[in-house]
């Protein structure tokens, strides 16, 4: 059970003056149950990439395999694939349309052909998992706050009970606490349901804190692929791509250069704190 991309290339308007290679020969495999992050600046190809995972975009060349099957094979049911590989886009405003939240979340399951009762049952479960309290079920989705809208949108995809959940910048426009709450919710979803989670983000700090594997996209190519602390050790190359490592990485490297024996691969505040305290202790002795 996995998503596998083999030599994926995607070209916009091929053969015209506007020709643009959004993806160039991208290979990757995402095993079941992984919490993965994708990072890259605007135009790096990350949005194009995630739309290949659920068959919203067809590669110009290359193969997309889901559980070993080619999703662009003639008889493959891509509608079903989209319920298995759920994609939540950046703006919840782009998907919320019903008069009531609960009804809106039912849209996905209903499209799968489920009865009203089954759909509602799933919707309630999804809303609980997305952390939206029952008192909002009958509210209009348009009157919710930014964070609540985001939860309703995530529930709308969760209700299809996907095996893979892709989130495109789920924290854009949220305030710091709203951001932490949504990310914590996603992390608990991952551990609770054991589904694969693919998180697209601009924030290196968030990626460092949550994911077990990260992919850096640059100019349509996979630039780095590994555990965050390993990828962040290439912080100078990341900078050349217009990205940056978390602030912690810079602090640790600067301390290292000044002769303090700290772990330069620390990426979160907790790791950094532990490492600095240890180093200072050693210094005192």
């Amino acid at each position: 059970m996995s998503i596998k991309l083999e030599h994926i290339t995607y070209t916009y308007s091929p053969g015209t003056v506007y020709e643009m290679h959004a993806l160039k020969d991208v290979d990757m495999e995402i095993p079941d149950g992984q919490f993965m992050g994708i990072i890259g600046h605007t135009g790096s190809g990350k949005s194009t990439l995630i739309q290949h995972f659920n068959g919203l975009m067809k590669p110009t060349s290359g193969k997309v395999l889901y559980n070993g099957q080619d999703i662009w094979a003639e008889k493959y049911d891509r509608q079903k694939l989209r319920s298995k590989v759920g994609l939540v886009f950046q703006y919840p405003e782009h998907q919320l349309f019903e008069a009531e939240v609960l009804e809106d979340v039912c849209f996905g399951p209903k499209n799968l052909g489920l009865s009203k009762e089954e759909a509602e049952e799933r919707a309630v479960r999804a809303l609980t998992q997305a952390g939206l309290s029952e008192k909002f079920y009958k509210s209009s989705p348009f009157e919710l706050s930014g964070g609540q809208k985001r939860r309703a949108a995530i529930a709308g995809v969760l209700a299809m009970e996907p095996e893979v959940l892709i989130l495109d910048e789920p924290t854009a426009g949220l305030d710091p606490q709203g951001r932490d709450e949504i990310l914590d919710q996603i992390a608990s979803l991952h551990s609770l349901r054991g589904i694969t989670v693919i998180l697209v983000s601009h924030s290196m700090e968030d990626i460092a804190k949550y994911v077990e594997r990260m992919i850096v996209m640059n100019k349509g190519e996979k630039a780095f692929d590994g555990v965050p602390r390993e990828v962040f050790s290439h912080y100078k190359e990341l900078e050349a791509m217009g990205l940056a490592a978390p602030q912690i990485t810079y602090i640790m490297h600067a301390l290292g250069e000044r002769g303090l024996h700290v772990d330069t691969s620390a990426t979160t505040v907790e790791e950094a704190k532990a490492s600095i305290l240890q180093a200072l202790e050693r210094l005192d002795k």
């Binding site: 605007t42 854009a172 426009g173 305030d175 602030q247 602090i251 000044r258 505040v269 600095i276 305290l277």
Partner: protein
């Protein structure tokens, strides 16, 4: 009196029922006191719904106080005959770059404000040229705004405000919809305007890294100004900020955590350099 001064500023939003009667009120601003000196770089922090956007719209006379008053450069915003002067002197940049660009060509958009003010044609051109130069967008003057990146669009929006020759510019979460590069681009442009042209800047945001260089920071919560001071003063109160749904830059948080653990470093560290110097004396 400073360039922006508010006394006991209150703003209530009314909620109407279907027949048009007032059903309830929501207090977005609650006795806000503000005094901003000309030429300063001011940051207003607060979570979503804390009232910071409502405050911004008062400075530009897009909203009017329910109680109390606000003066811009000595003009009371409720004086109807001054309204266009106020809007000219206090330029406003909004969050969504697409929804504030009116022109279909960059330079025409920058000229929109001066056209409305009735500036003679030759002067409009001069203002447009200067403003585009100030934000570094001269090379894109003939482009369609739709083809620009988010950061570039926001710089065009800033140029559009600059061309009105304001004394003060208010930016309402100008970077919330941008990627990190766009964010840096916009902040650099804003900082330069403040330093080179001496324009008062009021930056409304919830990104903590953006306010490190501000002269003064106001923190809002539930319509009230709950904290104010230099970034160093405000950021040294980590727990308090967290209680207002905000956080501090990673370096400040790390320094705070180390200090809590007994390491002897000063409070309110704002930059990597400061922390490194404090640890490696």
């Amino acid at each position: 009196m400073g360039i922006v001064k508010a006394i006991k500023l209150v703003h209530d939003y009314y909620k109407y029922d279907e027949s048009g009667h007032v059903e309830g009120t929501y207090r977005a601003l609650d006795n806000v006191e503000l005094d901003i000196e000309a030429g300063q770089f001011i940051a207003v922090l607060g979570h979503n719904g804390s009232g910071k956007s409502t405050l911004a719209k008062h400075i530009n006379a897009l909203l009017f106080p329910t109680e109390g008053a606000l003066w811009l450069d000595g003009m009371n915003t409720t004086e109807e005959e001054d309204i266009w002067k106020i809007r000219q002197k206090a330029g406003m940049v909004f969050q969504n770059p697409d929804n504030q660009i009116i022109g279909t060509v960059v330079e025409e958009d920058v000229g929109f404000g001066p056209e409305n003010m009735g500036i003679p044609t030759d002067d409009i051109w001069q203002r447009v040229n200067e403003s585009l130069e100030a934000v570094g967008m001269t090379a894109y003057r003939h482009h369609s705004p739709n083809k620009l990146s988010g950061g570039q669009k926001q710089r065009v929006a800033i140029a559009g405000v600059m061309a009105m020759h304001p004394k003060c510019i208010i930016l309402d979460e100008p970077t919330a919809m941008l990627d990190p590069n766009g964010r840096k681009e916009v902040l650099r442009a804003v900082k330069e305007l403040n330093e080179k042209e001496g324009i008062t800047v009021v930056l409304i945001t919830h990104y903590m890294e953006e306010v490190v260089n501000a002269d003064k920071v106001f923190v809002m919560d539930q319509g009230k100004v709950v904290m104010q001071g230099t970034p160093r003063e405000v950021f040294s109160r980590v727990e308090e900020l967290k209680s207002y749904r905000l956080d501090v830059p990673q370096v400040t948080l790390l320094a705070y955590e180390l200090k809590q653990a007994g390491v002897k470093i000063p409070a309110g560290i704002l930059t990597t350099e400061e922390l490194v110097n404090a640890l490696c004396q």
